[in-house]
Chain length 202, copies 2
Amino acid sequence: MVFHYPNGKKFVASNKMSNTKNNKNVNVINYSNRGMTLEEALNDTNAYYLANNIAVIHKKPTPVQIVDVHYPKRSAAVIKEAYFKQASTTDYNGVYRGKYIDFEAKETKNTTSFPLQNFHAHQIQHMEQVLMQNGLAFVILSFSSNNEIFIMKAQQIITFWNRMLDGGRKSITKKEVELTSHKIPLGFQPRIDYLKIVDHWI
Amino acid sequence: MVFHYPNGKKFVASNKMSNTKNNKNVNVINYSNRGMTLEEALNDTNAYYLANNIAVIHKKPTPVQIVDVHYPKRSAAVIKEAYFKQASTTDYNGVYRGKYIDFEAKETKNTTSFPLQNFHAHQIQHMEQVLMQNGLAFVILSFSSNNEIFIMKAQQIITFWNRMLDGGRKSITKKEVELTSHKIPLGFQPRIDYLKIVDHWI
């Protein structure tokens, strides 16, 4: 079973209930030679960082508005009615070598550009707030069809975002991504070693 | 309506659906002269910090395991079956003046001691991991009956936790809290100005 947000985006359950392989809405990128989603590959990476005392970075839970809960006898409370809420921040944050780390990860099937509609205005605003507090914010952009993942500083995505607000293009061309970001080599352990790039920034 | 976790702890909905005033399970402390919960007062405080560019600190969403979602036509997706999950980290984190901030907030109705059962082993472990990455971790302890709130460094609560693991007492006496923590003065704006104490640590 595959869940979708009201906006049509896929909800990826953390326990992998869904068989994503045969679903058209799901981008399967070869993060791990076994059809991991970007979120799974990043969770794997963060688990590796944690287990090896490299960094403490977690994905935030999906925000849910709970309306009704039942309490069956002798078993766990069951949420019977709840709704997806818009997140007010990015999905991932934590600490690495004393630095506050904050990022959002998005993927596209496009091969020639990355649509900015993948981001929400409040996420961009959150990254601006983090930068003001001297935190380290960035985005991870996955071109799933090309099997390429890039890391782009928040300052840079904010520039592209503002260009759009000023009437410019609603996406970042692949060429622009290549010029303004670092490509993250895909590995086995960790899968997406983004901190190797972050090392150059701190 | 008041929700409870399987362990009997209250679930405090963020939109204040529940009228908590007349419920025995709820500690009503005078954080604001209008019966705010500790969580509400902290969310208020963090909103003040954010609005005034002082810090970017958010409470993480309650982790929920989603099992079944319905998609009614022309309305939002409804989660029809879900369960509360154990959080793997503390509830609050963010960035303040370049420093990674991480904390958990708990309250007790006791007047003479603070029970350590308010914390989970994985939360203590998470704070240890944060300290190893040179982040700033602490706990906010509220004695709701006395209307007193303290901030205690993670290093200190870990010491009390280990004393318990070594067969020592399962709580921290009020006297010990006073000796090892800072009392946070309650205010109007912000309600619980914990960063004023954190200032002395960074």
